[in-house]
């Protein structure tokens, strides 16, 4: 018997045990305060979403077109490499997003961690939160509200790099010429979200 045959039993896949161990690790890491970034995936009408949270709150929402692996690597580099699949911390965020897509919810009530945005971009995000459900604002108007009427392009960048799309509604910012403008989740997703909110 070759040593490969001798150890064949050891190499049988045991997905059930691994899944159980990963769940246990996430729970124990959270209890011990070393789960710096927890994440989960959520199916939605605009594709699978990645949701990530620190101990402070929701820190990242990423569309599939933004590449979830890249988003996780960015979280590891910018916040901490202690990143684990740990759905429990995202239960509330997932429920509120489900409700939003089912048109049972028009505003989010979640602790947010805005550390991935700073300076002017962060102040744009703060103003974005004031654009109500079912309404839109232009990039130009948002630049003026954020205190820098000339910074229309910078507002566009702030929207494109919004770490918390959907929850911070950058999809409600459109071009002043009536065109819909770009969106981190793709223009199709932006159309779908505006249509969802206008049916109210």
């Amino acid at each position: 018997m070759s040593t490969t045959d001798l150890f064949a039993a050891a190499h049988r896949d045991d997905h059930e045990t691994m899944a159980r161990l990963q769940t246990r690790l996430a729970e124990e890491a959270d209890q011990d305060g070393v789960l710096d970034v927890a994440y989960r995936l959520l199916d939605s009408p605009v594709g699978t979403l990645l949701l990530a949270a620190t101990e402070r709150g929701l820190v990242r929402v990423a569309f599939a077109v933004q590449d979830h692996d890249a988003a996780l690597e960015q979280l590891a580099a910018r916040i901490s490499p202690r990143v684990l699949l740990a759905p429990a911390r995202l239960d509330l965020a997932a429920r509120e997003l489900d409700d939003y897509f089912a048109r049972r919810r028009t505003a989010f009530d979640l602790p947010l961690d805005l550390r991935l945005a700073s300076g002017f971009r962060r102040s744009v995000l703060e103003h974005l939160r004031e654009i109500g459900y079912g309404t839109t604002a232009s990039y130009k108007a948002l630049a003026a509200t954020a205190g820098n009427p000339g910074a229309v392009r910078a507002v566009g960048t702030a929207c494109a790099t919004n770490p918390l799309p959907l929850v911070i509604p950058c999809h409600r910012v459109v071009r002043s010429d009536g065109q819909i403008g770009n969106y981190a989740g793709g223009t199709e997703a932006k159309h779908a979200l505006l249509a969802l909110e206008s049916r109210a």
């Binding site: 018997m1 040593t3 045959d5 990963q22 690790l25 996780l72 684990l84």
Partner: protein
Amino acid sequence: MAVAGREPFEQVVRRHGPTVLRVCRAVVGPDVAEDAWSETFLSALRAYPDLPAGSNVEAWLVTIAHRKALDQVRAAGRRATPTDKLPDRIGADDPERHTDLWSALGELPDKQRQSVAYHHLVGLPYEEVAVLLGGTAAAARRAAADGIKTLRRTYLPAGPDDRTDPR
């Protein structure tokens, strides 16, 4: 996006979790293997941000698992099974040969069991096995060879369904 630094720990768990589980089962036995695995990865997660870039992550994990295994064995008290007499008790055609790999491994002396696990289940070279166990690479190679020799005599893999390759 170009990102410097360490990959998310989740990737480490996925890539190396099954290997570390094999090591734990082999070294501390299947009953406490899951506790040893959990302690290993929790401890690794804690230290992960300080792991120097370019480190061999698998060897690092196995080192932690080895220490946790020693803790487990210490906590459980000395293993009761004397192994020296096995060759006399179990002949090549003895119906009582082990059909379970983990119990067969469990009867090997510590050094042999660890050398077999780290070299044959993880694939660490004997130089690295020697660093973990103390002693020389030659001694680790000898211990693994002795372990394999005993396993061939005491372990009979269960039915043909369980074998991956024809013999």
